[in-house]
């Protein structure tokens, strides 16, 4: 019974384009931290949505605490003793912490009871909260605390954590692990979803590895190493990428000088005195936890926001801070914003049409405002071929491509113009391992051919893998740069959490 506290029995769930869970079977021990490990798109999220009653399986069953689980909604899941903390928080941004907590409780609760329970939980698990603060004013770590407390108020036996550390600083991660261990010590069970190998080794007792919807292995973490887990998670071994400094020239490509921008809007982070320089052929990384000003900085670098308070942006001796994106493209600067669907590509339009979103001086997409459809189509086909985009053709809608293929298409569109500078945000966010590797490889190759690249990413591993220099953004301030090859990870972690020293 304790060994099979939760048992997945041949769970299958199919979506139009993909079998997300293919005959998934494994079991979870009581009072343990069980890792569900896999790449993006391996089917982990779908599986836990089934467990939590958000999705119904096509076939198969789950037993919980000895009984077959028969739930069709999260509230039933909670009533059964299953709680879940989502990767993208399921909080209501404009409501207060208190309202958010009340919404998570099924039974009617008086304010006093809530306060008492809260004090218990806060002191026991080290989760302090300000009840009257609106969620918008909280940091990612604080938001997660609200989520966890909201779940704990229901006293769940099984707690599902979906990629809980993806938005946390290394120090916040440590605190989270302390909390989770305390929960297990009380007899609760945790299903911990992640794609980070180190976390599995440090935190978890057992691990189930998934790849393309199937369970590859389910075992104790005791005799596993990061390397052995990686092999199971990724399948065939991918070549390790090497960073090479020799081709970097000592001439400046882009320099940002003292850029400040205030928004007077709680949904935005003000940028304070940001300065950095990128040399020709260099890959410059900007690390940081989400919501510290990355998207605001990206908007300014792309030219989507030209209303800065002060500062200069100089590219090849030209001041470009007041240029719109098209004018910057005319100087051979290319951009890939974080969001594919609806930002760097329009999902409702075909790939050919999406080609038109960024016109570089060399392209002959139009003459006197009239489109040259043939040229556009051919260009789209060229991008599709060169970058191995899997799609039925250039007339397929962007929305019909998988995340990885669309990202390859977008990046291909941008770098096919051989830009002098590429500014890219979260290049491999939410895509499969194969595409991720291909994209990183092409970025490195691009830099070797003399393109300067600025990469904004939350994924520290990615930045360490591909960049030459790296700096950290925290609350709208950018740290000094470090050489990536001899940077101290702990130092970066402290900077990401806002601690200098």
């Amino acid at each position: 019974m304790n060994k099979h506290f939760v048992e997945f029995n041949k769970v299958t769930k199919e979506f139009p384009r993909v079998i997300a869970n293919d005959d998934v079977s494994f079991s979870i021990k009581k009072s343990s931290v069980h890792a569900l490990l896999g790449e993006n798109g391996a089917g982990k999220s779908t599986l836990v949505k089934v467990l939590y009653g958000l999705l119904a399986p096509d076939s198969g069953s789950i037993s919980f605490n000895g009984n077959i689980l028969n739930i069709s909604s999260p509230s039933e899941a909670r009533a059964t003793g299953i709680g879940m903390v989502f990767q993208h928080f399921s909080l209501f941004e404009s409501l207060t912490v208190r309202d958010n907590l009340i919404l998570g409780i099924d039974k009617n609760i008086s304010y006093n009871d809530l306060k008492n329970q809260l004090q218990d939980i806060s002191s026991k698990y080290n989760l302090p909260l300000d009840l009257d603060a609106p969620i918008t004013s909280l940091s990612a770590g604080e938001k997660q605390r609200v989520e966890i407390v909201r779940i704990l108020l229901q006293d769940p036996q099984l707690l599902i954590m979906d990629e809980p550390t993806s938005v946390l600083t290394p120090q916040e991660v440590k605190n989270l692990f302390v909390t989770l261990n305390a929960l297990v010590d009380e007899g609760r069970t945790i299903l911990y979803i992640t794609h980070k190998l180190e976390e599995v080794i440090t935190l978890c007792d057992e691990v189930t590895i998934m790849r393309s919807g199937k369970v590859i292995d389910s075992c104790s973490t005791e005799n596993q190493t990061a390397k052995s887990l990686a092999t199971k998670m990724l399948g065939e071994k991918l070549e390790e990428l090497k960073t090479d400094y020799s081709h970097i020239k000592n001439t400046k490509s882009l320099s940002a000088k003292n850029i400040s921008c205030s928004f007077n809007d709680p949904f935005f982070t003000d940028l304070k005195d940001i300065s950095f320089e990128v040399n020709v052929g260099e890959i410059y990384g900007i690390a940081g936890v989400a919501g510290n000003g990355q998207s605001e900085l990206m908007d300014i670098l792309v030219g989507e926001n030209t209303l800065i308070d002060s500062g200069e942006l100089i590219f090849n001796n030209i001041n470009i801070e007041s240029f719109n994106p098209q004018k910057r493209r005319d100087l051979s600067i290319a951009f890939v914003p974080e969001n594919r669907l609806g930002h760097s590509a329009v999902p409702e339009l075909t790939l050919s049409e999406n080609i038109l979103l960024s016109q570089f001086p060399k392209n002959k997409f139009s003459k006197n405002g009239i489109l040259n459809h043939n040229f556009i189509d051919n260009h789209a086909k060229k991008v599709i071929d060169t970058f191995n985009v899997v799609t039925p053709g250039s007339d397929a809608k962007a929305s019909s491509l998988s995340g990885g293929n669309l990202q390859k298409f977008v990046i291909g569109r941008e770098i096919s113009s051989k830009p002098k500078l590429l500014i890219i945000s979260h290049p491999t966010w939410g895509i499969d391992a194969g595409a991720e590797h291909a994209i990183r490889e092409s970025l490195i190759e691009l830099s070797q051919n003399g393109t300067s690249i600025i990469v904004l990413s939350q994924d520290l591993d990615e930045l360490i893998e591909i960049t030459h220099r790296i700096s950290v953004i925290f609350e709208g301030k950018l740290s000094e740069p470090f050489n990536t090859k001899d940077v101290d990870i702990t130092k970066l972690g402290l900077l990401m959490g806002g601690k200098n020293e």
Binding site: P74, L91, L95
Partner: protein
């Protein structure tokens, strides 16, 4: 100025503004749940004609209001079915509801134009409109159900993840909105006018929609907005009566121009609109994935 005149003006304002309060508070509840229903004008007209015809046929005020509210429920349920179940575009569906309502009401009321009826005293409804606003305000900020409705309008995905039935809550909010619009319409044809005339709401439904924006989605402010608005409208009528020499058409434009001005003033503060508008307003909810 004598006191009777002032009392008279206040009375006129109260009587003229009440349909705006009903329709405004109904639409506010609908929008708070994350649904924009542009069919207010159509639902008001159908509500008005239903009440009027029922009254003429049955001679019962009670039945007139009951049937009117049922018409509002039916009209809004039709809208709800399209936008919630079939996930149609809310703006277009609301427009369709208004066009449909204009046609349906003039079809039903064709033979009743100019039929005389005994109007009902408006005062119960004036009081009722205040009560409903206070009730909605209490419901939103003092009850858990109200909190859930606001949460659904804020983020339907989060609400769904917590296990709340987004569609059921939105359905109820839409139906409440429809009932209030019908009540506003029946008040106009039975108490305010009292008569039936094609298109007799004369854009009040649209003004009610503007009121919700003016109120920045806060129930109490619907009252303030409606009465400022009613005051301005009545004031221009009085200016006219006091002999300010301008063609009548220019005075009649006042409500529409005032509405635009108010919208401009409120909306120009982008941040305020962003912070107060329900975050998932007009977004369709699909729980498949």
């Amino acid at each position: 100025m004598n006191i009777d005149l002032i009392i008279g003006i206040v009375q006129i304002i109260l009587i003229a503004t009440t349909p705006l309060v009903f329709a405004g508070i109904g639409e506010l509840v609908t929008e708070k749940s994350g649904v924009l229903n542009l069919g207010v004008e159509g639902m008001m007209l159908v509500g008005a004609v239903t009440a009027f015809v029922t009254l003429v046929v049955t001679n019962s005020y009670i039945l007139a209001f009951i049937f009117s509210i049922i018409s509002g429920i039916l009209m809004s349920s039709l809208f709800a079915f399209l936008v919630l179940v079939l996930m149609s575009n809310q703006v277009a569906t609301g427009l369709a509801l208004t066009i449909f309502g204009i046609g349906l009401s003039s079809m039903i009321g064709k033979n009743y134009i100019g039929t005389p009826i005994d109007g009902l005293t408006p005062w119960y409804f004036v009081i009722l409109s205040f009560l409903i606003v206070f009730f909605v305000s209490y419901f939103f900020y003092k009850t858990k159900s109200g909190l859930i409705l606001r949460a659904v309008g804020e983020s339907h995905n989060s609400a769904h993840a917590l296990g709340y039935s987004v569609l059921k809550i939105r359905l109820l909010a839409i139906i409440f909105g429809g009932s209030m619009c019908a009540l506003a319409g029946s008040y106009m044809s039975i108490c305010y006018a009292p008569m039936w005339q094609e298109g007799m709401t004369a854009g009040r439904g649209w003004i009610a929609l503007a009121l919700v924006v003016f109120a920045t989605w806060k129930p109490g402010r619907i009252l303030i907005g409606a009465y400022i608005f009613g005051g301005v409208t009545i004031l221009q009528m009085n200016l006219q009566a006091f002999g300010l020499r301008l063609p009548a058409q220019f005075f009649n434009m006042a409500p529409y121009i005032a509405t635009m001005l108010v919208l401009v003033i409120i909306s120009s503060n982008k941040l305020r609109i962003k912070l107060s508008a329900p975050a998932s307003l007009t977004l369709p909810f699909y729980k498949g994935r």
